[in-house]
């Protein structure tokens, strides 16, 4: 007497299952992925992401993120940067549309891990870039994080400007980008040596600014127009002065500022004055202030390290725990009176400078593209006006003339172990001579300086 199952119902059931399955697979899922997926992008696809667990919180993600961000702000006031980073990670997971948190997070990760002497920990930069990339995937419709990513390359890494250009271009594709911020692309093109593109960019933006000003005579539009006008002026003058136009036309560079190339006369000596404390001394025959020579001390076998830098773009996911057993120190050596002398104390930050490996490399690197304009006027955008008898190098950077020198130290030397307990380790370039600048007056020095323009008159 049990109920009999109607075959019609069963058929309806099966049909229903097929229809819903087909709808889900054929129509809904794709659109859902494009439009509504809370964890947009591919970055989280390598593991079961926290995003999915947090999805449980449903609509309260944004408010939770907001509360955490307020908390992070109070840590910031206390200078407790270590506590902020996990919060930033959590907030961006909870609310991947919090652009400000991404931007601030990149800045924290990239800049604020420092040693006692305010050198930032460059091992974190790949993670800072990764956070930015993640942000752009979550927020593809606004320019901000594309711009931030470019800025990280332009300002923090201050090298490999092609990447800055790449991200600034992506930012420009977004319609919401502020006009004033677009100007930076022109600057970035200068630093890649693509002067024609820089000039084109400035012309294009200048045209736009004229239209904008015609539409609305606001102060900001007025100011933007004036800035672009100035930039364009400078660029055109420089392009002529630095021989760029002549070079393009196939004319000889005689008579232009960049000719003949000037010998910077680089030499360096590194002295391990105390365990983990190194003094860098050396020469650089450029008198005008504004020279910063990059000095890097790193494991000889540091993965991906070459040419005085790391593989900055190595990561796609954020890792707030860089390898604890690898050392990478980067410092700027400022030149004054044709000499530099800098003591780098790494003894107070054993986590940042663990020195666990046996062999270390010291790299010295100078790139005219990062130089201030008054020095660039002589050296050119790509080092055409610069040379060095011993260390001019055209390999470590493509299409550029840079100064690059390396020295080596051992762990025992840096830590003053073994035979080096009483002996002071010194590594120096063959051309390094003990200076007599202590005896001479500054005026004497100036007299000995060769003319930047002609390269003669010195020594």
């Amino acid at each position: 007497m049990k109920q009999k199952t109607s075959p019609k119902l069963l058929i309806a059931l099966i049909l229903g299952f097929i229809v819903q399955g087909a709808l889900q697979r054929a129509v809904i899922f794709d659109l859902w992925t494009k439009n509504y997926n809370p964890g947009k992008g591919k970055l989280l696809s390598n593991a079961m992401s926290p995003d999915q667990i947090l999805a449980v919180l449903g609509g309260f993600r944004e408010i939770t993120a907001g509360i955490l961000w307020v908390k992070a702000d109070s840590f910031f006031d206390q200078g407790n940067y270590d506590a902020i980073l996990p919060l930033i990670r959590l907030v961006t997971m909870l609310d991947p549309n919090e652009i400000d948190v991404y931007a601030t997070g990149m800045w924290h990760i990239g800049y604020n891990f420092t040693d006692e002497e305010q050198r930032s920990d460059r091992r974190y930069i790949p993670s800072a870039l990764a956070l930015g990339k993640e942000g752009t995937l979550h927020n593809p419709d606004t320019y901000e994080l594309f711009f931030e990513e470019g800025w990280m390359w332009y300002h923090k890494i201050d090298d490999d400007y092609d990447n800055a250009v790449k991200w600034f271009l992506k930012a420009q594709e977004r319609p919401d980008m502020l006009p004033a911020r677009k100007n930076l692309l022109g600057m970035a093109y200068q630093r890649t040596g693509e002067i024609n593109k820089s000039i084109d960019t400035y012309y294009r933006l200048y045209d736009q600014s004229l239209k904008q000003f015609a539409n609305e005579a606001a102060f900001s539009n007025h100011q933007n127009r004036d800035t672009l006008e100035g930039n364009l002026d400078n660029m055109l003058v420089r392009a002529v002065q630095r021989g760029y136009v002549a070079e393009k036309d196939g004319r000889p560079l005689n008579g232009y500022d960049v000719y003949p190339p000037f010998d910077v006369g680089f030499s360096v000596k590194a002295t391990v004055v105390e365990p983990r404390v190194i003094r860098f001394e050396g020469t650089w025959n450029v008198l005008p202030v504004g020279t910063r020579i990059r000095a890097v001390l790193r494991d000889k076998d540091f993965p991906g390290a070459h040419g005085a830098e790391l593989e900055w773009d190595a990561r796609d996911s954020v890792n707030l725990d860089p390898p604890k057993d690898q050392t990478f120190m980067q410092e700027q050596l400022f030149v004054k009176n044709r000499r530099f002398n800098k003591k780098v104390d790494m003894s107070k930050d054993p986590t940042m400078y663990p020195f666990t490996k046996d062999k270390y490399v010291l790299e010295f690197y100078y790139n005219p593209r990062s130089a201030p304009p008054h020095i660039q006027d002589k050296f050119g955008w790509s080092g055409q006006g610069m040379t060095d008898k011993n260390f001019i190098n055209t390999d470590v950077r493509k299409n550029q003339r840079v100064v690059y020198a390396t020295l080596e130290l051992t762990k025992d030397q840096i830590l003053r172990y073994g035979e080096w307990v009483d002996k002071t380790p010194i590594a120096k370039t063959a051309n390094y001579h003990e200076s007599n600048s202590d005896s001479g007056s500054n005026d004497d020095v100036i007299l000995k300086v060769p003319s930047l323009r002609s390269g003669v008159g010195g020594k």
């Binding site: 889900q24 439009n35 907001g66 702000d73 609310d95």
Partner: protein, 263 residues
Amino acid sequence: MRPILSIAATTVGEAIRRRVLLVILLIGVLFIVVAPGLGILSARSETTVLRAFMLGVIQGVSMIIAVILTVYMIPNEIERRTIYTILSKPVQRWQFLVGKYLGAVLSLLLMMSMMSAVMGVMFFLQQQSKNPGEIADLLKGPAMYFIQMCLLAAVGIFFSTFLPPLVNFFLSIGVFLVGTFFNPLFQTLQENKNTAPMVKLIAQGVNTFLPNFANYNVQNPIINPTQQIQNEGRYFLGVTVYGVVYISILLIIGILIFDRREV
């Protein structure tokens, strides 16, 4: 049809008098009313948090209402023996079940409309918005949630034909949660090259056959209006048809079970 409608109307009458539901509804409305004050908690623009919070409250409260409303539906009728007087009348069991479900849906419609209306008013007051399109855009959220909750109610009714309320409560919420975050998980599995093909196949099967609640979580572009949406109409139509079909499936299985059930 008449018995179905009568049962549905009675169910609504009962639902709107249940204190638990009213208290939950009241809490929800209260949260929506105080929502504008929570803007200060955010580093972001107040509207973003306001939208997120209001939509979150509506979804959460509706979910709890949908579950509480349905898990007791059949067990209570049996316990109070009201079902006997009804089934001894010329009422088929499927009519009873469908009537009950329809009642749940109407109750949800009533309660969710109320919360949405309050949300609309609060948003209007907060924003002084002169653009009615903005509020209409905001209301797309609750509209989709409504279908989501209808689906959840069908799950609850389906389980209540053979499970006691407490078990059903956790099971229904469990199905909701799984159905909500299975989509992101599924996408993750699909895109991960390291996923074993077997796991992919299983995931595909589960994603195809489990009720998919994530489809109705359309709040992201509403909260972040800079996002661009493609084929919105087609999507909404798709998920609505999906919901109706899936609800029918659940009700049919529910009826098959309920028909055999000794009450």
